[in-house]
Symmetry: D2
Subunit: 357 residues, 4 copies
């Protein structure tokens, strides 16, 4: 009800503030018997970790994950899996200076309006640090999906006006912007560093491709697979839009162009094109699920901006903390995690949608 | 669980197939004491009704709504409100011919894959007729929101390449495409009729503007107001993407351009721009909520297309039923209803998010 | 949230007031492919119907059920199943006289306190007529469970001080009190008629025995099978307590008496006794599930009682409507329905509790 | 879905196994602004702690609670409150010997049947240690309820055949059996020690009295206040039944005896008797809520019992660990916590059940 849980059968509840004791997640509904190791979870967390490169914040968090419950002798028990990391490098001093100022683009003002007060240190609950729990849980979801040969690949498709032209998935983790186009990656990094020098930040687009989802996942009419994936993506900080397949381009198409006609490929029914992005009527159709999310430029910028104080007086603010000049590269593993959580949930939901005969 | 409910406190469950006995909705969680009349609900249903103009299908459904429970002496009882309409003009004969063919762009194939079989008549549950229940329930949500001075306005912003240039809300209901730009509306209609003549269909973009939402609605971290609105929109048939404020344009912006700086306006804190689209950190900030959804061209087109049979043989199909050549005008009241349902839910959720002192 | 839904995967939402247009239920989450006929549902409704005998109310309701959606060609579609009956014999005139008086033992006062006003006609939503929807939905749950050889048998175990001594399940539906002890049944009926003559009513105990549930159903730690069954029973009007197996008698036992030791029976593990009532640690153990619910005497009695008016003035009331002098016989099919709904839900939940390998 | 969460608005999710790293709970939906200290939570945990007296187990757990999130400057933030304790005195060696034997009365067998395997150490998730999280969360719920003058008092009413005759609430925490009847308390303790000497255990009845709940809490028709309280109690280990007010005694009453007639007391409407136990039609009526739960004798007894091995061979077992000879005294704070959690949830749910005018 309070909005801190996601999923219906495979369900997570995250907790933690940016500068509190730590952060974590409780995973409910993961079936018993799934092999899972701390190291597998750690690997995903390391992908989202701060301080990885010049295009990410310098805050240094080891983010060492601990499995506190729900796993015994290397396998899930079917009971809740509690995962937690401690906050180590929380430096609240810089936030002390701006605790009565509302940072533009941030949730300071809205948290105050909603709850009457807030933990101002590092954005408190509204910090992207909250996604630690999502990524940790997502690692378990990925493990579950891997048994069904489902593979999720995320990457930076666009930074400012620069759009990837080639899509070599093997390249993605080799460059710090996580772009499948090696040459464009370099240009993107230059673009970001230029903005950073001016104390500014840049936006971009992350794309996810999910291979291996069989036809039949998704629960119309409300919990459509694409609707739940859209919510999952929109629940990430800084995301301002999401689209599937042809996406906003569909506005310019005719029905005869947009429809993906059905064809036979070997013994399998498939479609000639994939404008639908792998989802028809809210249910997967067996094609790759393709979606894009737009990530706004980081709100924290090292430039003077107008704002108001908590008491409503005009003021100036400059946000000097440690910030990513572009959110996209770290958004990639987080978006993948959210996709994995959504798909794991729908995989399980599909198990009970028809008789087992 | 089965995906036919929406909302947590203000919650609806829709039921019904396109050619079944009827369609309806159960509304739970509407507070007791809200005045509501059948005529207020009917008015919204009439806006989504078929057979209204040359740009909509000719299927004629009276869609006379009946309140079966939950309202007594003109006011909500606090008990479930059951609303239903009968199906009158269901003509299943045309569907008999294509019941073993998968219509491109439709959910025939995916429903079969999910459930093992389907009601082929008029698309069964996957038909847009299902939205009758949403619109009826949305009328109650709108009534609840009106008490808080929240007003939702939807309109067609774009059809194919034609984009509204002026935004006179008084124009919207005066033209059959529901465009706030009178001149562009005529061009849009011509554009649609051209496609129709060729047996084709067109896509477009619907925009919603929500005025009057106070700062503080939305439940991070997952049930963000924008995430729930995105899910609401993506749960509508034919919608392939959704964006808020600057939306996908944010990819091209710098942080210094995208941030909405805070200013005072009289005694109120507000922002100079509205790139956020009224939501910061998943919580409303008091500015207008602005979102856009892209609507793909109608999948049913009167042209021969490739497809396969249920048994997987290559075949040709031509969908001759009665279809909207463009979904946008009728999507407007439906999208408004979904926005109203989402906002009514978050309004009530905000009532329990802080102590009442 | 508003309390009108039950179940998590197999889920129902009931609607309707005693003297409104009708009553019904939406069943979500029933797997696709289950054969179900209106007549199978009608049969269960006929068992709970009013006007059956001298120990039930004389209100005459045909309670003709209609399946409005979710079933196609005799099988469930996997979509919501809407079921409804019309109210036919609603005579509100008697209630007009007492609409400003609070009937002792009824929910008139509490509904007013909760919602600010109420539908006073026949108790509105608080009427036992609401259980029509439960029984209709329960018939579908029973059908699903029958595939797993699960059989639920309910009966009147006790009326006032009269307790059944023999348990011949074949007798139950042959007498109007639904008691498995033919001789005791006659005494029970006499006991009830004696009370009725004095304008009074009597209480009793209903027992349910569920055969065929395999070991492994139930979701600790909160959604234990017995906890959910207890809630199901306590959600019925007039029920003031529930117990399993040894029940309240366990207070008098030693551990060495109460523990059901495990034994082998053929190739099956079972227990020598069944003090647990078929549930250990919230999970079925393969033994019969045995539970009892106590049903208070009908609150509506044809005797003068003290009360107060809505405005809080002392007054006298005599409730002259048509009432069951004892609720037990009609409570039997209703309790069975609630047990079926609970078990169907837990059956499906068990499908996703461990890996399918 | 997996059964480890309780509540709808005020909602908890517990995690942890008896001999794992620790145990904890995430509390969601507690309104922002509630003052809460670790010491207030610790106080409740100390009441349920082991090793308190000769009638409880000798396992020594400090159960030092830590607030990991959701509280800032002494007040709840409106974000999830994570609470955890470490396991300190977990001695798994004794369990090694019996890991292939099913303990009678325990959930070993049913967990194996459900999940395919289990954490055998100390009962794993099925251990009463899981209630640590409930009691910690309950302390916050109590704090919230205290603002509304709601006070929950639990006590041992009966041990074996010994029933409290006097009800001096001031006595309860002064004796180790938590009985409000000082003299009977001594007899009860003797009774328990006698059983213990024989390696046996005893059952009993715990009673709760909730004062101060205003009329209007509870959500019919399924989430009745008494139904949710019944589920809460039945979700506790060893509880085999629950009853309200007259409870099972109502079977013996006439309607004219059982009905609580309404009277005026000063300006307040109340009832002359309280056979309803404070709940009418599932909604509180302003009278004390009175309920009783029966607690079976501890299953772990130091006597030889028949059982079977995991492979289904007949065997003997003697459970030698550290066990409470009677569960009642420690069940008191746990039952209070569950009542507090249920009531806090219904208090918040009532906030949205009618218009705020």
């Amino acid at each position: 009800m309070s909005g801190n849980s996601f999923g219906k059968i495979f369900k997570i509840s995250t907790w933690g503030e940016s500068h509190g004791a730590g952060l974590g997640v409780v995973v409910e509904g993961c079936p018993a018997g799934l092999p899972i190791k701390e190291s597998e979870i750690q690997k995903e967390l390391d992908r989202r970790r701060t301080g990885q490169s010049k295009v990410t914040t310098t805050r240094k968090e080891g983010d060492r994950i601990k499995i506190l419950s729900g796993v015994f002798e290397g396998k899930t028990l079917g009971t809740p899996i509690a995962l937690a990391v401690e906050n180590e490098d929380a430096d609240s001093s810089k936030y002390e200076l701006i605790k009565d100022l509302y940072r533009p683009g941030h949730a300071d003002y809205t948290y105050d309006m909603k709850f009457g007060f807030r933990d101002h240190r590092g954005g408190g609950r509204s910090s992207a640090r909250e996604t630690v729990g999502r990524v940790a849980a997502g690692a378990i979801a990925k493990k579950l999906l891997a048994r069904k040969k489902v593979r999720i690949t995320g990457y930076t498709r666009q930074i400012g006006p620069l759009v990837a032209q080639t899509f070599d998935f093997g390249e993605i983790e080799k460059n710090i912007i996580r772009c499948p186009d090696k040459k464009m990656a370099e240009k993107m990094i230059d673009h970001i560093m230029d903005a950073r020098k001016k104390g500014d930040s840049v936006g971009g687009i992350v794309e996810l491709v999910v291979e291996g989802v069989p036809a039949g996942w998704g629960e119309p009419v409300f919990d459509r697979l694409d609707a739940d994936l859209a919510k999952a993506m929109m629940s990430l900080p800084a995301v301002k839009g999401v689209e599937f397949g042809a996406g906003f381009g569909a506005a310019l198409m005719l029905g005869s162009e947009c429809n993906d006609v059905f064809i036979k490929k070997g013994r399998k029914i498939t479609t000639r094109t994939n404008n639908a992005g792998g989802v028809l009527g809210g249910i997967s159709n067996g094609a790759d699920i393709v979606l894009r999310l737009v990530v706004k430029p980081t709100s924290s910028i090292n430039r003077e901006q107008d704002t108001v104080t908590r008491k409503g007086k005009a003021a100036k603010i400059r946000v000097e903390g440690r910030h990513d000049p572009c959110i996209c590269p770290r958004a990639v593993p987080i978006a993948e995690a959210m996709a994995a959580l959504t798909l794991a949930d729908h995989y399980l939901r599909q198990q009970v949608s028809r008789l087992d005969t």
